[in-house]
């Protein structure tokens, strides 16, 4: 089998990102195809990488300098799975793009689009803390720029959201960087495995302060309450495919970076897990109860996204294998189902010209296919049986049961949050199918090229609900990788 070096998953997109603008001068329509080709390359490379990493972690040393002196890429089952998720979501969004980005500078959009993918991929594959910072920067600056891309009616909103996100995002990277500097000061190294082995003997106060700084910095990217002020505006103001990228790629990569730092570098320090548990529960409830009050479709989905990230934080901070598998399952399910929901919502809004939920009355008759797809996504997020969300919630609750009486409480809280979720999603689904439309006319469904990604995502939501064993094959080694830590992986470097 062909082995593709994981560093090429960064190298090729960067090369193409630099190539696109000059080819666009002579051939105006090329950016779309060059970007598509790049994403396809990453999709193939990450699939091969996942298959390889299930046997043994794939390690790629950059510049030939052995760790801890140089930078290293470490792709275990967990990182490869995330890389595959990132490249496949980017590929599907690529199909969905055309009518939504017509009004701006398309060349620049496609450049930013593939660089966003490269940044997120780097975030999940790198084994070096400072390198993680660099890729976080690429990802977040590409997100600011894509967010500001919105044109027409939403333009003012998008600019406001961008400025908000940019200020909070810069604070986030400042905190993250100070945390890295403190860690380097305390241990004298930046390699993750080396850090993990040196932290126990380093100055405790400094390490804890670094941990607090890094959690603050990455918590902003992972939509952790109360650091998520940018989220609703960003999702609402962004053009629809960019909202999909935020929910399925950017936030997932940020969350994964946070989890990796806490679990792999700090060895799942109890202080960190307690903080994550408390803020996770807060995020869950604040997100879900805010979603309940929204009248704007995309804003509701944004708050629901925050709530789901809270659920993920809670699942991971339980720190046992069942809960971790459930958390990873929920992460996959959320990336897929929320991507589907944002795409379907985008098609609704594109056809209707308004984001108001009350305009959705009777959409089941006016746009039946999109409505059906939206409903599938909503059912999966709610956690109805036969959909991916059900399995993820069941496994998380089973995991929390292992954590004693405290875990029981967590399980009850998760269930009651799901109830809130049920209410606001069912309200929308009810409007779509049960209410009579004010205007009976059929609306034009999106063309097949845009319907295709939604159908693929819906199929995956089903597959996750009825055949979870296939996913557990990857998720269980991935969860074990988190629990085992890095020390054994690179021989302590």
């Amino acid at each position: 089998m062909v082995n593709i070096d994981p560093t090429l998953m960064i190298g090729i997109p960067l090369f193409m990102g630099f190539l696109i603008p000059s080819v666009a001068i002579v051939w105006k329509n090329s950016p779309r195809y060059l970007a598509g080709f790049t994403i396809l390359f990453n999709l193939i490379a990450s699939t091969l990488l996942l298959i390889r990493s299930l046997n043994a972690p794939v390690i790629s040393v950059l510049g030939g300098w052995q760790p801890p002196y140089g930078i290293v890429f470490v792709a275990g089952p967990l990182g490869s799975m995330l890389a595959l998720l990132i490249s496949s979501m980017t590929m599907l969004t690529w199909f969905y793009l055309p009518p939504h980005i017509k009004e701006g500078n398309e060349t620049k959009f496609y450049m930013l689009f593939i660089l966003l993918m490269a940044g997120a991929t780097g975030m999940v594959l790198t084994g070096d803390l400072f390198n993680l910072f660099v890729f976080t920067e690429i990802t977040s600056i590409a997100s600011f720029s894509l967010l500001a891309y919105s044109r027409g009616k939403d333009e003012k909103e998008a600019v406001e959201a961008t400025i908000k996100y940019m200020i909070i995002g810069s604070l986030s990277s400042a905190f993250f960087l100070i945390g890295i500097a403190l860690l380097y000061g305390a241990t004298g190294t930046l390699n993750m495995a080396d850090l993990a082995s040196k932290i126990p003997s380093a100055n405790h106060n400094l390490v804890m302060m670094a941990l607090a700084m890094i959690i603050t910095g990455l918590g902003i990217e992972a939509e952790m309450f109360p650091l998520n002020g940018w989220t609703p505006d960003a999702y609402t103001g962004a053009t629809h495919p960019v909202s999909v990228m935020f929910a399925s790629v950017v936030v997932k990569a940020g969350f994964f970076a946070l989890i990796r730092v806490v679990f792999l570098i700090f060895g799942a320090a109890t202080e960190a897990l307690q903080i994550l548990m408390i803020f996770g529960l807060l995020t869950l409830f604040v997100g879900e109860s805010s979603a309940l009050r929204q009248t704007d479709l995309k804003r509701m989905l944004a708050y629901s996204s925050i709530g789901q990230m809270g659920l993920l934080l809670v699942a991971f901070s339980l720190n046992n294998q069942t809960a971790l598998v459930g958390g990873l399952y929920a992460m996959l399910n959320h990336a897929i189902a929320k991507g589907l929901l944002f795409m379907a919502a985008g098609s609704f809004i594109f056809a209707l010209g308004t984001r108001d939920i009350s305009a959705l009355n009777g959409m089941g008759k006016r746009m039946p296919v999109t409505s059906a797809l939206f409903t599938i996504g909503a059912f999966s997020i709610m956690g109805l049986p036969f959909f991916g969300g059900f399995i993820s919630k069941i496994v998380i609750i089973a995991g929390s049961m292992q954590a004693g009486t405290e875990g029981m409480l967590v399980a009850i809280l998760i269930l009651s949050a799901s109830l809130i979720e049920l209410v606001y999603f069912l309200r929308v689904v009810h409007r779509i199918w049960m209410r009579e439309p004010e205007d009976d006319s059929r609306l034009k469904e999106a063309p097949f090229t845009q319907m295709f990604p939604m159908i693929v995502l819906a199929a995956f939501v089903f597959l996750m609900g009825i055949y979870p064993q296939a996913f557990f094959k990857v998720l269980i080694p991935a969860a074990q990788e988190l629990l085992r830590g890095l020390g054994t992986m690179i021989g302590g470097a």
Partner: protein
């Protein structure tokens, strides 16, 4: 008002806590070369990389991948500025009046412009020998173009030429990395001879990368300036 004062009090408490922790625990002034990775860089850097400027040795060789990332960060930021400002000109009739620069500024800029370009090029070409490097040299070059804009209200860069230059040098950096992978199996491996430290043609791939970065950063920053000038008009 209450919200504001609570926030202020919280910030004050945080500041005090952070300040005293750092003041007590940061190992300022200790000899820490033996604990981490720094001794390897300090004692073997010149031999390993052939660069007499150790900062460059670390930035472009040991941790060259970070630098490729940083170049991309700047590239993304410049692209983002372009995408955001696209079609965002001021409404007609609200043009800001521009004053022609005085004779002294115009003449001075004509003399200084080539010298600034030369100085910028010097900084990035000698990046592996003397303090400075691609980013610094590029910034100097962009300053030279800013000077042009200040002294001549009608001055404009040719966008296509700048974009093409930027692309070519950016691809050069990425290609150097990919060639390393093809030749030795390591991305960004230094596949050229180190030469003797201190000479202009030494340090393997570092000069190539720094020339590419210098031109790229210069073109990018100039592009940002130009984008902003267009919005002004």
């Amino acid at each position: 008002m209450i919200k504001k004062s609570i926030a202020l009090i919280l910030i004050a408490i945080l500041f005090v806590a952070i300040f005293f922790t750092l003041a007590n625990d940061l190992p300022f002034g200790d000899n820490r070369t033996t604990t981490g990775v720094s001794d390897k860089y300090i004692y073997h850097g010149v031999n390993d990389t052939g660069a007499s400027n150790l900062v460059t040795a670390i930035v472009v060789n040991y941790r060259g991948f970070d630098t490729l990332g940083e170049v991309t960060v700047l590239f993304v930021a410049a692209t983002g500025v372009g995408a955001v400002l696209y079609n965002m000109g001021r409404p007609a009739g609200k043009k800001r009046k521009k004053t022609e620069a005085s004779l002294i500024v115009r003449t001075g800029s004509r003399i200084l412009f080539p010298m600034m370009l030369l100085f910028g090029a010097y900084i990035f070409v000698h990046g592996h020998l003397t303090p400075g490097g691609g980013f610094q040299g590029g910034a100097v070059i962009a300053t030279a173009f800013l000077f042009k804009y200040v002294s001549d209200t009608r001055y404009h860069i040719d966008h296509n030429k700048f974009t093409a230059t930027e692309s070519v040098v950016g691809m050069t950096f990425a290609l150097v990395g990919i060639m390393g992978l093809l030749l030795t199996g390591y991305f960004l491996f230094n596949f050229l001879p180190n030469g003797s430290p201190g000479e202009l043609l030494s340090a393997g791939i570092i000069p190539i990368i720094y020339v590419a970065i210098g031109i790229k950063v210069g073109a990018e920053l100039t592009g940002i300036l130009d984008n902003m000038m267009e919005v002004e008009q």
